[in-house]
């Protein structure tokens, strides 16, 4: 993967696998937009939270929505994480509220790649830090529908079980790939997937390839 040509959305400015962030990333990291200063004032807002400090990233996103247009009019956040995690959530909040705000439908379709592209790219190894923001936003959208009583519009993010023994889902594999598992061996070290049930391995390897290409470009 190190020698591959990644998609433009994960290219960093120098084009190598270095550590240096783009000016946009730096700007959003040092001058974060829309971060939550007073949670008590947002007790009535819809909120989504993903991640945990143990795994290195945790994000909380609050949104206020105009019920008539279903557009996001305000988006605040808090992030525990590295420079790219903080910058990504900051950029996410800008994208959610600019030009009159995203519709909830559009907010659900926002992909991590869209955020990294706006940031001017991230080093390939830092992509995993930036994928929680859109999940937190989707969780907040669900929360808004829940609070609005439109339960039929709540969309669960359930994964599909790939290995019945370990109950590992395709989402688990996606997260592991983002956390640096780029070989079956590393994937198994993280998830134990397919060790007791090798029958699922072809599918696991297919998902590994799929997510590696999705986030890091073709090998």
């Amino acid at each position: 993967m190190k020698n591959s040509t990644p998609d433009p959305d994960i290219l960093n400015r120098t084009g190598d696998n270095g550590w240096f962030y783009s000016d946009t990333v730096k700007d959003h990291f040092f001058n974060p937009r829309n971060f939550m200063r007073d949670e008590s004032a947002y007790a009535d807002a819809a909120m989504g939270m993903v991640g945990s400090p143990a795994c290195g990233d945790a994000m909380k996103v609050w949104i206020r929505v105009d019920p008539a247009t279903e557009r996001i009019i305000d988006c605040k956040w808090k992030t525990f994480g590295c420079g790219s995690a903080i910058a990504s959530t900051s950029m996410l909040s800008v994208m959610a509220t600019e030009n009159g705000g995203l519709t909830l439908d559009a907010a659900r379709r926002l992909r991590p790649q869209d955020v990294t592209a706006r940031l001017g790219g991230l080093p390939a190894r830092k992509i995993h830090c930036s994928v929680l923001g859109d999940k937190a936003l989707r969780a907040a959208v669900n929360d808004w529908y829940r609070r609005a009583g439109q339960l039929e519009k709540v969309e669960a993010e359930a994964g599909r079980v790939v290995d019945v023994l370990t109950q590992v889902t395709d989402q688990d594999i996606e997260h592991a790939v983002l956390d640096g598992a780029d070989t079956l061996e590393k994937l198994q070290a993280k998830l134990k997937v397919g060790i007791g049930n090798p029958a699922c391995l072809p599918e696991v390897e297919q998902l590994l390839r799929f997510y590696t290409e999705k986030y890091f470009g073709k090998q």
Partner: protein
């Protein structure tokens, strides 16, 4: 803007005196030590003098020093060299006692869980290939190996024990001499030459006494880039009588243990740096310890901050703290923007995207490992630098905590 380099455990600048000693060997005395003419002889003499000088520091014989391309190669040569040599000699052994035969056919290796990757990775590779069985020794909450644990882990087939002199991340000093004596006694009572004792002293070489007769190590690795010497050069002490297989084959330099034309300026630089570091260590350690403790005391005044490693049994230049509820890379970036250069054990800043195995081994949580920051002081560090760090650090921590959705209870982090 300020420029305060506090990452001396990563690497040190070259001492001007070391540079002066090296310079003639780039252009003037540039010969190949293997050449049979005067320029070659001059280079050979320089390498011999450097070898003698390193040996003196280690209280060793000159023929026990093997120059390498750095600490990683020295560690790899020690570990792979011993293990491969045991396997090779197994092929030639028919007359040896059965016990020794069994030792060498099922080799077992013990290493501390907090070793540098230059030790852990070659051992993991050997374990994976089935060449050895590997036991990783746990450490106490300060990061120290407990000699009793080692006693319990020893087996008749243990051929090698590897424990570092001092840890690179948290600075904890390991009880090397005690472990050395324990292993001597074990060999005596079990009437065996094994296990050999290897120690990675790369972090210790600038600050601690390296007398191999007092530490009873059989193999000791150190390098230039951590002691104000050049990068890309190191050496391995190999006790007389100990057999190693080389990693590299070729012209037979370094008593056949490390083929390849000697890095003459580098070797001269390493020897000069080691000599200077050892001669000046007492005064410098005293100075650094005062600065270190000032920094530790000041940082611990920040709420929800914990010291990683041992309060006193630590390298005189090492400060490693965890700030709860924030992530280390973010803090390092903010420090960098203010001209302070430190490092972190956070997963985000590591090649493997896993948090520091050292801090986890001390029993701390993932959260604490993610929030760890290491400041390592050096020759150029002044009291005003420490005070500047102490002035800006609370604000950085506060700002990041302000942005963080996490608020952990300190009772989990004692």
């Amino acid at each position: 803007m300020q420029s305060i380099y506090l990452d001396h455990a990563a690497t040190t600048p070259l001492d001007k005196r070391v540079l002066a000693a090296m310079l003639p060997f780039f252009t003037k005395t540039f010969g190949n030590p293997s050449s049979f003419h005067t320029p070659g002889l001059r280079a050979k003499e320089a390498v011999a003098a450097a070898r003698k000088s390193c040996a003196t520091v280690l209280n060793a014989h000159a023929d026990e020093i093997v120059f390498t391309s750095g600490g990683t190669e020295a560690d790899n040569l020690a570990l792979l060299g011993v293990i491969r040599s045991a396997t090779v000699s197994l092929g030639r052994m028919t007359m040896r006692p059965y016990s020794l035969l069994s030792t060498l056919s099922h080799p077992h290796v013990i290493a501390s869980a907090i070793e540098h990757p230059a030790v852990l990775e070659p051992l993991a590779a050997l374990e994976k290939s089935g060449a050895i069985e590997l036991t990783l020794l746990p450490v106490d909450k300060f990061g120290r190996v407990v000699p009793d644990d080692l006693s319990h882990a020893l087996r008749p087939e243990t051929i090698l024990v590897s424990v570092m002199y001092a840890n690179n991340e948290i600075g904890t000093l390991e009880p090397i001499a005690e472990i050395g004596r324990l292993l001597l006694k074990w060999r005596k009572t079990h009437d065996t030459p094994y296990p050999y004792f290897h120690s990675d002293a790369c972090q210790a070489a600038g600050a601690l006494a390296l007398d191999v007769e007092k530490s009873h190590v059989d193999l000791l690795a150190l390098n230039g880039g951590k002691i104000y010497g050049p990068k890309g050069v190191g050496c391995l002490f190999v006790r007389r009588g100990l057999k190693l297989e080389p990693l590299m084959y070729g012209g037979g330099q370094e008593r056949n243990l490390r083929s390849g034309t000697e890095n003459v300026p580098g070797i001269v630089g390493l020897a000069t740096a080691l000599g200077l570091a050892q001669a000046e260590k007492e005064r410098e350690n005293k100075r650094l310890t005062v600065l270190r403790d000032r920094l530790i005391q000041g940082l611990l005044k920040i709420p929800k901050t914990r010291l990683n490693g041992h309060p006193t049994e630590r390298l005189p230049n090492n400060v490693n703290v965890s700030f709860m509820d924030i992530e280390g890379e973010a803090a390092v970036l903010y420090l960098d923007a203010l001209g302070i250069f430190a490092s972190t054990g956070s997963a985000c800043a590591s090649q493997t995207l896993d948090p520091s195995h050292v801090i986890l081994a001390t029993g701390m949580s993932y959260e604490a490992a993610h929030g760890s920051i290491r400041f390592t002081l050096g020759h150029g560090t002044k009291k005003t630098d420490i005070d500047y760090v102490l002035k800006v650090m609370p604000g950085i921590v506060e700002k990041l905590r302000h942005m963080s959705p996490v608020n952990l209870d300190m009772k989990y982090f004692r």
